[in-house]
Amino acid sequence: MAEREQKKRTTPTRQDEVVEEEAVASAGQADKLKAELDELLDEIDEVLEENAEDFVRSYVQKGGQ
């Protein structure tokens, strides 16, 4: 229980510098994720269905369970 409470809620009692360090780390992490996403978006451009509108319109299914 205690462990989860700690992880769940940001504790206001923490020292400022710790919080700052975490903020820097998470900003670095965010940049990294953004760069990865950009790379991924470049990559998928090559596999995307060519005519999105036709592709979506022609995908018609019979209902099932």
């Binding site: 229980m1 989860r4 992880k7 769940k8 994720l33 996403l37 950009d38 991924l40 978006l41 990559e43 998928i44 596999v47 995307l48 269905e49 999105a52 509108e53 592709f55 979506v56 319109r57 022609s58 995908y59 018609v60 299914q61 019979k62 209902g63 099932g64 369970q65």
Partner: protein, 500 residues
């Protein structure tokens, strides 16, 4: 004591034949499956014991579900113990019976590989320029939905009303981690909410709380009472409210957490705790439409709770249950691992849902589509985003957007490749699969709870398999190894039965 949660997943795949004029989904599904099984002798499915009209609330409605002849065109049983067939104009893969949530992930993934192989096999039989493509999703974006169903073995003696009471709030809220995500909405009304992207692909299609139907007026809790096992002892909870997941962590949590909740219900662990929602049908959509995960849901007893808070309450109850009773019914170590993942994912959803982009389908899909939308300055109604949503579920590895996300895995690809042909060793699927491997040509028909042998002399011999945890490698390997022919196997089984 909670029963071991023997479980399985059935998936109806979306299908489209391309390059040949109008696509007939039933014909295309048949071509697809026949192409796959062409290399093995097809064993037919035996319908004698099927009664999908029986209701868990205690009655059978004659004619409630009329037999649909066209759905029974192609029916195959695979050597991994799965059933692969045409159902409601879709190819459907029903995993073999599994003994824990991790094994379900394995056999569900093996199903995707089987469908991918089927597409390649089908393309060889079609005229040049034509192909068949399948999608592991739940709707066509135009209001037509098809299902991904879970099945769990339960103790018959547990009052069904208790199952409904406690499983309903879970089914309404679990979509925060097992939703597959969807662009827009297919509901006729959203209560004035502008839905650009939602957590679940199926939530739009649920109109009742409890009922027998699966294709119209879909209920959150389905009452089909067809145990495919000893009906005096067991029921099979048939769950139709889930999404088709590609992310292994999402599948793992979907079936893992649900198995734990069902064990808690069997052991009457909820006691006086009651999370009954005032309006579950409204709530399931509200949860799906709320990407902020903060929408308060009215409780029947008064007050409100968010989906995330409700999952935390269930988690806390489950943790005490696991400490007190253990999780032997969910594979003990696997059950404990599900608990760890469940907690980590709830923490992630609380602090930063996007941190789960490599674990959960809805998050991974949202992040990809939202990134694309921002890069190109698109509105959420742009067909390019709907196209990407569909292509996320493309089962061909080279076209699948899901495959590009490099999601976290629960099982290894080596295990998946083996599960394409090898049955799980820990359930009756083992006996089914091994008999098919060794003596497929002598098996006239198969069902979940029986095998029918054709030994060349009348009559056909039916071997009942009413216990899902009999027929395991541990129990039958020596018997199987000691038999040189199917006739010998049948003789020994019948002898053993007579001596009982």
């Amino acid at each position: 004591m909670a029963l071991p949660k023997v479980l399985g997943l059935e998936t109806e795949y979306g299908i489209q034949q391309r390059g040949g004029g109008d696509s007939n989904p039933i014909a295309a599904s048949s071509v697809l499956i026949n192409a796959y099984v062409a290399q093995i002798r097809k064993v037919g499915w035996d319908f004698e014991d099927e009664s999908p009209g029986n209701d868990a609330r205690g009655y059978a409605r004659d004619g409630a579900l009329p037999p649909d002849i066209e759905t029974h065109l192609v029916n195959a049983v695979l050597t991994n113990g799965a059933r692969y067939y045409v159902d409601h104009a879709h190819p459907e893969y029903s995993s073999p019976e599994c003994s824990d949530p991790r094994q379900v992930v394995l056999y569900d993934k093996a199903g995707e590989r089987i469908l991918a192989q089927s597409m390649i096999a089908a393309s060889r039989t079609l005229p040049p320029g034509q192909d068949i493509v399948v999608y592991k999703n739940n709707s066509d974006g135009k209001g037509n939905s098809y299902g991904t169903h879970e099945n769990y073995l339960m103790d018959r003696s547990v009052p069904f009303a208790r199952v409904v009471q406690h499983v309903m709030p879970h089914f309404v809220t679990r979509q925060i981690y097992c939703g597959a995500g969807k662009v827009g909405t297919e509901a006729s009304s959203t209560g004035g909410v502008d839905v650009t992207f939602q957590l679940s692909s199926r939530a739009d299609f649920f109109e009742e709380e409890v009922g027998l139907e699966t294709t119209l007026k879909r209920p959150i809790v389905n009452t089909r009472d067809e145990p495919h096992a000893d009906a005096q002892k067991y029921r099979r909870l048939h769950v139709i409210v889930g999404d088709a997941n590609l992310a292994e962590v999402a599948t793992y949590l979907k079936v893992g957490v649900t198995s734990i909740i069902l064990s808690m219900i069997e052991d009457d662990w909820f006691g006086d705790r009651d999370f009954t929602l005032a309006a579950p049908v409204q709530a399931i959509r509200q949860v799906s439409y709320d990407l902020s995960l903060t929408k308060p849901l009215p409780l029947a007893a008064g007050g409100t709770i968010t989906a995330l808070q409700l999952q935390w309450e269930l988690f806390d109850l489950a943790r005490k249950y696991a400490e007190d009773r253990g999780l032997a019914s969910v594979g003990e170590d696997v059950g404990q691992d599900v608990m760890r993942r469940w907690e980590a994912v709830l923490n992630g959803l609380e602090t930063d849902p996007m941190s789960l982009a490599t674990q959960l389908d809805w998050v991974g899909k949202f992040r990809l589509l939202d990134g694309y939308r921002e890069r190109h300055g698109l509105s959420w109604t742009d067909p390019r985003l709907a196209a990407m949503d569909l292509q996320y579920h493309d089962v061909r590895p080279e076209r699948s957007l899901f495959a590009k996300l490099a999601m976290e895995r629960i099982v290894t690809e080596e295990e998946v490749q083996e599960a394409i042909t090898e049955p799980p060793p820990t359930t009756r699927a083992y006996f089914r699969g091994k008999c098919l491997q060794r003596w497929g040509s002598a098996i006239a028909a198969a069902n979940w709870d029986s095998l029918v042998f054709d030994l060349g002399s009348e009559p056909l011999r039916r071997i009942p398999m009413m216990e899902p945890l009999r027929g395991t490698a541990e129990l039958v390997d020596r018997l199987l190894e000691g038999c040189t022919s199917p006739a010998q196997l049948v003789e020994r089984l019948e002898d053993a039965h007579r001596r009982q």
